[in-house]
Amino acid sequence: MNSKQVTDILLAIQATITLLISVRALYLYSRTRSDALFSIGLSMGVIALGGICGLIGDTILVSPYFNTLWFRYIGQTVSYLFIYLASLRSLKQYTAQIKRWHIIATILLLVLLFLTPFIPTSSNSTTLAILSGSRSIICFIIFLNYADIFISKETRFSFLMSLAFLLITVGISIYTMKFLVPNSISFDFVGDSIRVVGLVVLLVALFIG
């Protein structure tokens, strides 16, 4: 098994987990109309879509004109941002506005996805490092938020969420190192593996937290 296959397997696991969370959240949203569920459902849906596009780009549509990295990185940053906003108590009264902005942002992301053939295929590593690293910044903020909630409320959900986002932050940070350090394939595997563990914890948090 070569390094590309390992990466694809990890990508498939990530896409499956996020798709599972998205489907469950949107199903529950249809029954409860909870804004928090809408945020999770849409955010995880976009992340899953990014993962699926990545897989397609690696396996079926192997073409220099199918560069989904921009959509995947920006999509994740935006999606995690809206998960963060959904968890803020002070913004509860603005949930309708947040929902509207989330929908607009998602539409713009889909436009970005459809513009994939026109996106530069060989972005420089600094640009990619910034795009990739922005995800870890948002995830780290989410980690801090849940760590704070856990300290004051001591609930299982806040503990698992803080752990999940800590792992995702570390995973993405290590993964991002590959853009800055030449010839460092191991960053890719280690980062993706840690992120998979983080997503599994996120899945557990949402289903049993």
Binding site: T32, R33, A36, K92, Q93, F157, I208
Partner: protein, 310 residues
């Protein structure tokens, strides 16, 4: 700290010293309040605040003129407002309360795993409700007026039989239990003094009140009331929204909930959703009962009481 140490803890003296104050307040309050449910809510709030009880509920039998008797939650206080109400208001809790009311007895302080089915006990424990205690009291010579929230539908005054259900996070001090029991033992007599419970031949007159103390204007301007969604601030913060979100039963209720934006009045919502009066009322009642919405007057003050059922 084990249980024996806890029971002997000197701070337990504090709760017994608070009791006379509470009883004095109890007597005064019974004469100032208009409805037994208001009185019970006040007791529950006082108990959760002073005796560090996480949740206190009053359940009672409610007789119907046509369909026998059911168990109704008369009052509840929750110390941590982020706790989703459905954790302590569900079919499994009602089953236990029904059993106790039928057996005409309470239940000693115990771990929730000893009192509820494993799934419900898991749920309670997950939300930090580890110990429970049930207190039963009845008085066949007194009638309990119909609940504020059930003032129509053929409900009738019912012989007084009530379960007070309490939940704690940690094993409470021994004196806490005796203080609670002392207060609860006197609820019926104090409520009778305040004319909140009635003799069997009494003519029951429901006096609805709003939370802001302003008398209800029954049906007057009701269509101008504005429903607002109740935000569950704990979902996505302290508890998973997968487990805390309440499914909305019924297509009409879902349709109405979707249309509620916090600005439109009931009349505007009825026009928008094209729901007829009966469906609108049913949907509204469902959403209020499930604690998914709160209805406010034009000034933004929440409205409680029987207006909805009129």
């Amino acid at each position: 700290m084990d249980n024996h140490e806890k029971l002997a803890h000197p701070s337990s003296q504090r709760t017994s010293q608070q009791l006379p104050v509470t009883m004095t307040q109890l007597l005064r309050a019974s004469t100032q309040m208009h409805h037994i449910d208001e009185f019970l809510t006040w007791i529950a709030q006082l108990t959760t605040r002073n005796l560090n009880v996480q949740v206190m509920q009053f359940w009672a039998n409610q007789a119907h003129s046509t369909k026998g008797t059911s168990v109704v939650l008369r009052a509840m206080a929750i110390q941590d407002q982020s706790l989703p109400p459905q954790i302590v208001m569900n079919a499994r809790i009602i089953e236990v309360v029904e059993f106790l009311l039928k057996e005409q007895r309470g239940a000693e302080l115990q771990h929730v795993y000893g009192a509820f089915v494993p799934h419900q006990a898991d749920l309670l424990s997950r939300y930090g409700l580890n110990y429970c205690f049930a207190h039963f009291q009845s008085n066949a010579s007194l009638l309990l007026p119909s609940a504020i929230s059930h003032s129509s539908d053929g409900v009738i005054a019912t012989p007084f039989a009530m379960i007070a259900l309490l939940f704690w996070r940690h094993m409470p001090y021994r004196n806490s239990i005796s203080s609670v029991s002392t207060i609860l033992d006197r609820v019926a007599s104090v409520a009778k003094q305040g004319n909140l419970l009635l003799p069997p031949d009494g003519n029951i007159s429901l006096q609805p009140t709003s939370t802001n103390g302003v008398p209800q204007q029954h049906n007057l301007g009701v269509r101008e009331f504005i429903p607002r969604r109740v935000q569950n601030s704990a979902a996505m913060r302290e508890y998973s929204p997968f487990s805390t979100s309440t499914p909305i039963r019924g297509k009409e209720a879902q349709q109405l909930y979707q249309a509620i934006d916090g600005h439109k009045s009931l009349a505007e919502l009825a026009r928008l959703t094209k729901l007829d009066t009966q469906n609108m009322e049913t949907a509204l009642r469902l959403l209020v009962t499930q604690n998914l919405i709160q209805v406010c007057d034009k000034t933004g003050q929440p409205i409680n009481g029987p207006w909805l059922l009129g």
